[in-house]
């Protein structure tokens, strides 16, 4: 995927990817941290709520205790303490800003009711205290006083039974007071029954006394006592009523409210505990999840990063390694090294191009080396040829000179000896030698012209050329009873006509010169075609040539037979002409079996002929 990037960018991509992955991991950590933090603050909140709930339930117990103290003892300080606690709880709840909480609202509501009820209890209690401490006591003492006055008035007149009766009533009065006070002290309902029974008994006794006394003076005190007793009864009942009322308030209403509050705060505490447990479990689970996620993602990222690095480094190192091998091979000078294909335009692409250039340079160098070797070899051969040429030429040119000088010396000696006729006879030899030297010089000139003069090449139809050749030599052939036969059609060659004719002339000349066959000499000319060459042959039925001379005969001035005419230059010229045409000449022959001279011309395309 990043194979299309430059190396630099590939490395950048790798680092950026690793950076992004790290950033991703950091983000995951931060999110997790915030989530955990939320949980924690929620936990702290719940904990404080739970703490508050506990504190409320404790305070409510205290309120209840104070309320009971107040109810039983009637101490104002207990009531004040209770109100103080109430104020504190309200303030705490408000301070904690927990009004929105359902439980706290309910607690407040119940607490308010509780306190309201307590206020009623306080009223009832105050009233009861007033009734008990003031009215009941005063009524009791009034009734007692009046009855004591009655006793006083009647003490003189009354008999013992009456007196006893009076004492009994008096003690009942005291008993009533005792029961009543005991009730208000201990709030035992039996005392009410006892008090009421005593009151009833006293009333009955008093009413009986009243009937006895009638309209007597003393009866007024009895009436007064009855009156006070009735009032006492009323006030006592009211006090009982009120006591029962606030006891109901305290024992039923307030207890219920307190219970509600404690229940709710406990429930809230439990719920908060549950919530907290949940949060804790959540947080733990979350932490575990996060740890798992972090570990998994860490491992995944590590694998990804490793894969990524491997991918990148492979994408870089593989082609570089391949190129290195290539360059090592190239450095050894090979131009056949396979250069790995690499089509991306990056640094390695540039290296690959360099390798290709390197390879081409190697090829060029090798070609140059080959050319240079070829040239050196050519030069060496040329030098050898030149040396051979100079050697041959100097020898062959010196030879007539030696002859001339030798005969001139002989002529001088003959002349000195007076043998003039003989001396003159030797002059022809000198002339011949000089003529021969002239001939050699001409031949050499001709040889030197091959490749220099008559170099223009044209398309030559060999059929026409050989027909003309045969006509030109018709007389010569018939006079020497020579048959010239064409074995085949001939191709069209791209060559220099006069040079080709020169070669044909030389070959025909040699055949004529050496012809020895008693059955008549025949020369066959034919053509055959190879893949890249045209082959022309001249076949004679002459004496043939030993294999040892098959190459030598093409050398300059090399002659198989010195008795024959010629300078030994014909075949050397033929070879040079063939070389000029990028062809060659050779002979196939066995002694006494004729000789076949082959001419090879390379085929040339129509285009390159131009």
């Amino acid at each position: 995927m990043f194979k299309k990037l430059k190396l630099k960018n590939r490395i950048y991509t790798g680092f950026i990817t690793i950076g992004l992955i790290s950033l991703g991991m950091a983000l995951v950590s931060i999110v997790t941290f915030y989530y955990a933090n939320d949980n924690f603050s929620y936990f702290v909140q719940s904990s404080s709520k739970s703490h508050l709930a506990l504190s409320i339930s404790r305070d409510v117990l205290e309120i209840q205790r104070q309320a009971l103290i107040y109810t039983h003892e009637g101490h104002q300080s207990a009531a004040d303490r209770m109100h103080e606690i109430y104020q504190r709880i309200s303030a705490q709840i408000k301070q904690e800003n927990q009004q929105d909480s359902k439980y706290f609202q309910e607690i407040i509501k119940h607490l308010d009711t509780y306190v309201e009820t307590f206020k009623q209890v306080q009223q009832q209690r105050t009233r009861q205290v007033t009734l008990v401490n003031t009215e009941i006591r005063s009524l009791a003492s009034e009734a007692e006083n009046h009855f004591l006055k009655h006793i006083e008035q009647t003490s003189s007149s009354a008999d013992i039974s009456a007196q006893l009766n009076n004492q009994r009533i008096l003690s009942s009065l005291l008993l009533i007071e005792k029961y009543a006070m005991r009730y208000f002290d201990l709030l035992d309902s039996k005392d009410i029954v006892l008090a009421k029974e005593s009151i009833f008994r006293v009333q009955n006794s008093l009413h009986a006394l009243q009937k006895q006394h009638g309209a007597q003076l003393t009866a007024e005190h009895i009436l007064q006592t009855i009156q006070y007793m009735n009032n006492y009864e009323q006030v006592f009942l009211e006090a009982v009523q009120r006591t029962r009322g606030y006891l109901i308030l305290v024992n039923v209403v307030m207890s219920a409210e307190a219970y509600e509050i404690i229940y709710r705060s406990k429930r809230m505490g439990r719920q908060l505990e549950q919530e907290m447990n949940m949060i804790e479990a959540n947080t733990l689970a979350l932490m575990q999840q996060v740890i798992t996620i972090m570990l998994l993602s860490g491992a995944t990222f590590l694998i990804l990063i490793t894969l990524f690095s491997i991918l990148i480094s492979r994408s870089i190192t593989k082609p570089i390694a391949r190129l290195t091998d290539t360059f090592i091979a190239l450095a050894k000078g090979s131009h056949q090294t396979k250069i790995p294909t690499y089509e991306i335009q990056d640094e390695i692409g540039a290296l690959t191009k360099a390798a290709i250039v390197f390879k081409e340079k190697n090829k060029q160098t090798e070609d140059l080396l080959t050319q240079s070797k070829q040239l050196t070899a050519d030069l060496a051969r040329s030098n050898d040829e030149l040396e051979q040429f100079v050697y041959t030429v100097s020898h062959d040119l010196k030879s007539p000179l030696v002859t001339s000088m030798g005969f001139i010396g002989i002529i001088q000696k003959l002349a000195t000896a007076g043998k003039m006729e003989e001396a003159v006879g030797k002059l022809d030899r000198v002339v011949n030698a000089n003529r021969r030297m002239g001939q050699l010089i001409n031949d050499l000139l001709e040889l030197s012209r091959v490749g220099r003069i008559d170099t223009d090449k044209t398309a030559i139809d060999l059929n026409n050329l050989l027909d003309g050749f045969r006509k030109n030599h018709a007389n010569e052939l018939s006079s020497s009873s020579f048959t010239l036969a064409f074995d085949s059609e001939f191709p069209t060659l791209y060559a220099n006509e006069s040079r080709i004719l020169q070669v044909f002339e030389n070959l025909l000349g040699n055949a004529l010169k050496y012809a020895t066959n008693p059955n008549g000499s025949v020369i066959n000319i034919g053509a055959s075609e190879a893949e890249e060459n045209h082959l022309i042959y001249f076949k004679d039925n002459g004496p043939g040539i030993d294999k040892a001379y098959h190459k030598k005969i093409f050398r300059l001035f090399y002659r198989l037979n010195n008795e024959m005419e010629g300078t030994g230059i014909g075949l050397a010229v033929a070879a040079k002409v063939m070389k000029f045409h990028n062809g060659s000449i050779w002979v196939e022959s066995k002694p006494n079996n004729g000789a076949t001279f082959w001419l090879k011309f390379p085929k040339i395309n129509e285009e390159t002929k131009q």
Binding site: H395, S399, T403, M405, G406, G409, I410, K413, N562
Partner: protein, 155 residues
């Protein structure tokens, strides 16, 4: 001349492809030492055939001296020299290379091949007579004449 009385059956084998040169050499040899017979052969192979025939049949005398040209048809001078000098008997016959070649290559090859002398063909009108005389004089004084005589006597 002393040469005339020392031997009466001396033959020079002239191996020379140039007819003119052969005639000139023969002329000067005859002029200087009329008793020396010149046998001329114009190619290396014919010369070797001739000399091997002498060695085989002993019907003719061994040549007293061989004048050997280098550029020859069939066997050239170096080949002839090599054949002569590799033969136990024929190697005793002195061989004088007598040639127009002045190339060091030829001189080296001839001397290494066992040629007894290397003489270039003169290109002065009076040079030929002088050269031939010096060759004959030199080989007349040399022990080789006696050795060749001995070869002949054993025949």
């Amino acid at each position: 001349m002393s040469s005339k009385k020392e031997t009466n059956n001396r033959t020079i084998l002239l191996i020379e492809d140039n007819e003119d040169h052969a005639e000139i050499t023969r002329f000067y040899v005859n002029e200087y030492a009329a008793d020396i017979k010149v046998v001329w052969l114009n190619d290396g192979k014919a010369a070797m055939d001739h000399i091997l025939e002498i060695n085989e049949n002993r019907e003719q005398s061994y040549p007293w001296l061989i004048l050997l040209d280098i550029k020859l048809p069939k066997y050239n001078g170096h080949e002839v020299l090599s054949r002569l000098k590799s033969n136990q008997t024929l190697r005793e016959i002195p061989v004088v290379m007598f040639t127009t070649s002045t190339s060091n290559q030829d001189i080296d090859a001839a001397l290494k091949g066992g040629a007894n002398s290397y003489i270039q063909k003169p290109i002065e009108p009076d040079g030929y007579a002088f050269t031939i005389a010096k060759i004959i004089d030199y080989w007349s004084l040399n022990q080789h004449g006696i050795i060749v005589d001995n070869l002949n006597k054993h025949a």
